[in-house]
Symmetry: C2
Subunit: 356 residues, 2 copies
């Protein structure tokens, strides 16, 4: 910890949602303060932060004041406007770095990067117009899925193509945005690895979790995942390879498809990840603290779990179940303090602790 | 949860130290906001609270504004001036209630209350002057300990009397404050029970922890404590008896001496307690969330632990050990964000998770 940020330093967090909120709480456990930067009013992270700035990502004077008030900058989402980062990077170190953001902000760049690392991905093609889409469908086939290259999350900005007849509508759905066609992968299940890398190059990974999605949104993560010992090792090594290639600092989420032909990388997220929320009740150092440790130069936790967990997201009307969940033994409740419940909105999660 | 406070409500917390800080974080997990009231500048709890009021307990307009801004009031320490409580109780419910505060603010009142409940305490006597002290020493003997009736914590306001020769100095040490003489108890070890009671009368207790003090300050709490099954049951029943007698709402700490003649109550604390910090890494619902659940009308957690823990306080220069502790497997670090390290000052704690 020679070069660790001193206790009492301030962590700047871009984005005031639930991830920023849980990062802020984790920072406090290590004696740090947090300053949240968020355009929206009443951000959930603001309830547990030392300071909050409410301003747009175009507000240069607010960005400058924020950058000067903090000792390190991190973020809870990857689609931060480039100009804001250009301004901030002169005021405080940004972790994870720009390269990780550049790659993960664009599905095409990300897939190309993974392929160059020798990792397996779904078949994909750059789509710029109808001609490139029809050519790609010839090669990749159906079913496949057309996605905007940027700004997609939780299933948004995506159109399934079940037969070539769907192509025109799918292209229209992109509304002219640059897109990527991805082939479907025949996988048995999805897992994710939450890995961390520190400035000195140390890498630690949590046990992979097994994810179940519905309507494009994560529903549950179960730890341990169904993986052979070999697959488990592969998953962790692959995440470490990505982190090292990016000279990454912080926590990284890597979603993987488990197939007969090995592990196929679905996507990477340069931040704490919903599928790592189980660590809050299963590990001495959870993913949020692990991220704060990495970006402040603290030693990483080793990632070993001391309990098996099923994490379940509370989405929209799932909030009606909170009274019952609060009465359920071995169930840890984590709510995000969002003012409005909306369909498809992540309102909280619970960690079911499994006794052996 | 029919009468539970709605999510998004604000918890008023009197006192901005580490207990207020950890209560604020726990409140956020249930979707609540916190408002801290603290006379001192830069309170640790303020780093993770939605609002902070910095004002004295004599500032009626600040107290009034605080009381109007919150939906329920709780506190992290029991020595709150009575006039402040008189003002606040008309603005929002105060939990735990005034009776619990009245009794626990005064060692003599507390011991008398416990005795009336049929519980065992150390022998004690009301000391008003030299004559009453010498008479009490005749009855109770030495070694014994003279304590101020009010405002003592972490060994402050106490004088040991090893022989009658020490009596005059001990009395002088009280500086004229009302005092109580307590006989020494021949105990094998000390344990504590952290219990909670909800408004509907439900009581839940965590597994008793075994405490080691040094220089009047708690050093470690180990769970499970060395207790027979019978002692364990007695400890929990005794805590429930106290909570019921006080019509208590919230978390209550009860320190017990384990002796050949049974369990002897040392003291009670009408709040979350240092010896309950282990629950943060050993239970689905920790003592801080349990307290918030009780005062907001949520169902109580059942208190069962899913890991064995040794909690170790970080006091003063123990902070120098943080880099090593951060590298220790299965060690969860909890720092309080205090600006200045001072000898005897509680700066943080760690929970060592014990794998079976």
């Amino acid at each position: 910890m020679t070069h660790a940020l001193p206790i009492g330093s301030t962590i700047g967090i871009i984005g005031g949602g639930q991830l920023g909120r849980m990062l802020s709480v984790a920072a406090s456990r290590l004696g740090f303060r947090s300053h949240i930067y968020e355009p929206g009013a009443n951000p959930p992270a603001g309830h547990v932060a030392d300071q909050v700035t409410t301003a747009t990502y175009e507000d240069e004077s607010a960005l400058r004041a924020f950058g000067k008030s903090v000792d390190v900058i991190t973020y809870e989402f990857e689609n931060i406007p480039t100009a804001a980062l250009d301004l901030l990077q002169d005021l405080a170190p940004i972790h994870p770095g720009r390269e990780a953001l550049r790659i993960s902000q664009d599905r095409l760049t990300e897939k190309s990067f993974l392929q160059e690392l020798g990792l397996q991905t779904a078949p994909f093609a750059d789509i710029t117009d109808a001609a490139s889409l029809y050519a790609a469908l010839q090669r990749i086939g159906t079913p496949s899925i057309l996605k905007t290259r940027r700004f997609g999350y939780d299933g948004k900005g995506q159109a399934r193509i079940m037969s070539p007849d769907d192509a025109a509508q799918a292209l229209a759905d992109m509304q002219g945005a640059p897109a990527i066609l991805e082939g479907f992968v025949d996988f048995s299940h999805e897992v994710s690895v939450i890995a961390a890398r520190s400035p000195d190059g140390a890498v630690a990974a949590f046990d992979p979790g097994e994810n179940v999605h519905s309507e494009g949104i994560l529903r549950t993560t179960t730890v341990p995942a169904r993986l052979t010992a070999g697959q488990r090792t592969d998953a962790v090594l692959l995440a470490a390879k990505i982190a090292n290639a990016l000279n990454y600092v912080g926590v990284l989420g890597v979603e993987l498809f488990v197939t007969d032909a090995g592990l196929i990388v679905n996507e990477i997220a340069p931040r704490v990840h919903n599928s790592g929320h189980w660590t809050q009740n299963g590990c001495a150092v959870d993913q949020f603290e692990q991220h704060i440790r990495a970006i402040t130069g603290w030693p990483l936790g080793d990632g070993r779990r001391y309990a098996d967990i099923v994490m379940e997201n509370l989405i929209g009307d799932d909030m009606d179940r909170v009274p019952d969940l609060a009465r359920t033994p071995d169930c840890a409740v984590h709510l995000y303090g969002k003012a409005e419940t909306e369909p498809g909105r992540k309102m909280g999660h619970v960690n079911h602790i499994k006794r052996s």
